[in-house]
């Protein structure tokens, strides 16, 4: 069955430091993968998505993610974190049935230290 795992529940980084959030997926076929961000009281906002082609995907707010089939990973990165990046981050992929059903990971809460 398809699944998405985010191994880190909580991460703290200093402002200006680099960031990497981990995501592992389990899919039988070509995965379609997403990263969303959720700020308190806000809806989920799409940061970036991977469907095919170039394995390094650029997103909004300076984020990027790299798809690595050999490692079943789709990690999110940012070279320099800003205090406003503090939020909860979700990795997601499509479930079965071609109906757009998204399967989400548990989420990673990012705290940014001044």
């Amino acid at each position: 069955a398809q699944s998405v795992t985010q191994p880190d529940i909580h991460i703290t980084v200093s402002e200006g430091a680099s960031l990497e959030l981990r995501c592992n997926y389990s899919y039988g076929a070509t995965p379609y993968l997403f990263w969303y961000v959720q700020s308190p009281g806000q809806g989920l906002q799409l940061l970036l998505k991977y469907f095919s082609g170039d394995t390094l995907v650029q997103g909004i707010k300076g984020f990027e993610a790299e798809f690595k089939r050999s490692q079943s990973s789709f990690n999110l990165r940012k070279p320099s974190v800003h205090w406003s990046d503090a939020a909860e981050y979700f990795c997601a992929g499509y479930g079965s049935g071609n109906t757009g059903k998204l399967i989400f990971g548990q989420g990673t809460t990012l705290q940014v230290k001044p």
């Binding site: 799409l46 979700f90 998204l102 989420g107």
Partner: protein, 116 residues
Amino acid sequence: GAGVSQTPSNKVTEKGKYVELRCDPISGHTALYWYRQSLGQGPEFLIYFQGTGAADDSGLPNDRFFAVRPEGSVSTLKIQRTERGDSAVYLCASSLTGVFPTDTQYFGPGTRLTVL
């Protein structure tokens, strides 16, 4: 333009009561999705509408949960005989065409349901 809106933003009810949660998708979006997010968890899929019809309701946990979208726009998620375990944030999303896999889902802010 206006995004996905959900009302109410918060709903407190008593165990056994009936509740309705409303979702207004982005204008022109044909596909609409409901998810449920429990505390500390990622969203879990409930149901997907393409137009007026439910194309996939495999995520509805039991027959107490029902959703409609009679005119292909606004959707209502209905929960009968609420239980404390139904307490969660209910998220709605819409997308332009529902065409898999390229369509992007845009999420609303959610309705926080608390069952006492």
